[in-house]
Symmetry: C2
Subunit: 405 residues, 2 copies
Amino acid sequence: MDFLRSIKSKQALEIILGFTWNPEIEIVGIDDGLNRVLAEDIISEEDIPPFSRSLVDGFAVKVRDTYGARETNPSFVNIKGEVKIGETTHLEIGDGESVRVSTGSMIPKGADGVVMQEYVRYLLDSIEITKTIHKGENICFQGDDFKKGDKILEKGKRLNYFDLGVLASIGRSDIKVYKRPTVGIISTGDEIIGINETPKPGQIRDINRYTLSGLFEKEDFTVIHAGIAKDNPEDILNKIKLIGDTDIVLLSGGSSKGDRDYIIESIKRLGGEIFFHGINIKPGKPTIFARLGDKPLFGLPGHPGSCIMVAIRFVLPILKKMEGERIKGTAGMISGTLTANVPSSVGVEECVDVIVERKKDGIFVTPVFAKSSVISSFTKSSGYIIVPEEKEGYERGEEVEVYFF
Amino acid sequence: MDFLRSIKSKQALEIILGFTWNPEIEIVGIDDGLNRVLAEDIISEEDIPPFSRSLVDGFAVKVRDTYGARETNPSFVNIKGEVKIGETTHLEIGDGESVRVSTGSMIPKGADGVVMQEYVRYLLDSIEITKTIHKGENICFQGDDFKKGDKILEKGKRLNYFDLGVLASIGRSDIKVYKRPTVGIISTGDEIIGINETPKPGQIRDINRYTLSGLFEKEDFTVIHAGIAKDNPEDILNKIKLIGDTDIVLLSGGSSKGDRDYIIESIKRLGGEIFFHGINIKPGKPTIFARLGDKPLFGLPGHPGSCIMVAIRFVLPILKKMEGERIKGTAGMISGTLTANVPSSVGVEECVDVIVERKKDGIFVTPVFAKSSVISSFTKSSGYIIVPEEKEGYERGEEVEVYFF
């Protein structure tokens, strides 16, 4: 019964992230690449841009021909020709010469800067330049973005919209990505009913199904629901079989150690292995983590507030890891000043949702005290803070770190 | 030609957000509600929870019967019965009495606290309580989450996963939301080719199509592409007609004031109204905002870095407003210390992408200096800072605000 002792949250996360999972690889088009995790390093096979381009409309010149040029003392250079957009050129610029270019035009040989047309006065077949320009001004040089052979995106990176632009720039229309794990969700509890039913006295509607789905769908994971299982091992087993094709199984409710907690029994009957039962956190203590065949399974607390907090802190990280993402820590990126005391007990790591407000004199963090069974407090909150196990709370005025939802 | 003067970014945003648009309303199921904007206030028609529930497995009691109870000096109370999960009860507790409850059980009348079973020793038909509990302990009272008549979610709120839980708790399976605006995208430029083509000298691949799509699809907007238009009004007009059904039209490229800028001409030929041509920002100056029939149209800069920054700062806000979202300012939520000088010219508002690093002694912000024509710099960046028009840059060591991508 060793697993029945509560373990620390850090240890829990280590066990969870230590779960072995080998994601499969698939090929998707760049149009479907957003938010997918790369299963290959992306190497540029060419210089980007492949030629030096003008960044403005104007005249390509040798910059030393503009030295000292100003409104009242312009430089004169001849116009040797023009490079139209999209066309190649074999023109070469010598001293005292210029070539007309548009934004995006190829820069002719010999030129090392472009004068914007705003600083040019037209004469017959020459121009007056009214501004000194420096070397390289208004030119995007060949290879400025990437050089041939550069590793431009790394395996394990989740692709954002900039990355899609990078892939487009080198002409990669198909990419290798990891398959996304699918999530199976079961709500358990004799008192839980579907949201379209009218609760009889003693019954409440299923909330966890919707908060969990939303959390995972926000990250583009596919969620399959098995519905609501009654508090008996047979029904739980049947529901687990129903979502047997998903890559991870989440049960909410029935994970505490009461008489009606059939999740442990169900896991054992299916030949699963229980890694821990209980994390020393509040809310969220009665959390189970187990292996069922080669898949991870969570027994999440039934209280909506506890359930979603454990999903955010412990389930989302394993899902991202199962998808092959290289995770760089999940440190909350802001800190602010507490506007109220946050009492907490030594010996349990406590998680408190907070409202973050930006004011003229700083960032202020207001705790929202709520029972783990209520969900309404979260809709007002911006994120949460963590009171470590060894601390007896925080005091008003202390600086705390906020993890955003 | 008044519109050809550049306007300040604040003024540009005011004009853009002042665009009149009346979003239509549609009804969606809660399963499709994530990230949609509510078109109605949500009022609870009942107390949630509808009855007082136990938060733990244990015994419902009158708390005064536990006063002074401890391990060495337990209180004794009789067991009057049990309330199973999901069932209603008419039991009533008197002095010296208790009723066995499970997590989620209805609390019997007369009880004002629940003793966790960990603090209970079983005798024959009574129990020893080994801990003093306080009033309300381990009970979630009727209406703790919401009271009947409470406005629980406001019109104009974008629904997150907590909000879905709130809707589920009151049994709202269908909700009124605003229709999402659809986005039509056209890339323009004689030098621009599709990403599957091999660029000839002078040509480059279309990047903006992919960065723009990714930006909008990340926010779940539907994007329609008209492909690449050549630099002539006919082709631009044809492409605009191709995506005539979308709610907003974005053209990238060809918005500066060179000889080949046919976007202004195209807008005029279609009877559109130009609100401004040019924002006094860097990158992104050559931006056009116009009205075409009853729809907004943007001419975005062609340089990938400029194009995406204008889309983030000026297009995304109007899209969210067109969707009916009540916008509460877009202030970047973190500030950090600059690790390098950021030079900038007085008279232009400059936007610089940055890397944010959290270290033991604070948050550090490192500018990534890049030409507006490159996209690679963005894949390393976490966000951007803004150097106001009136400032001549920032110095190393200064505190700056970062807007996250």
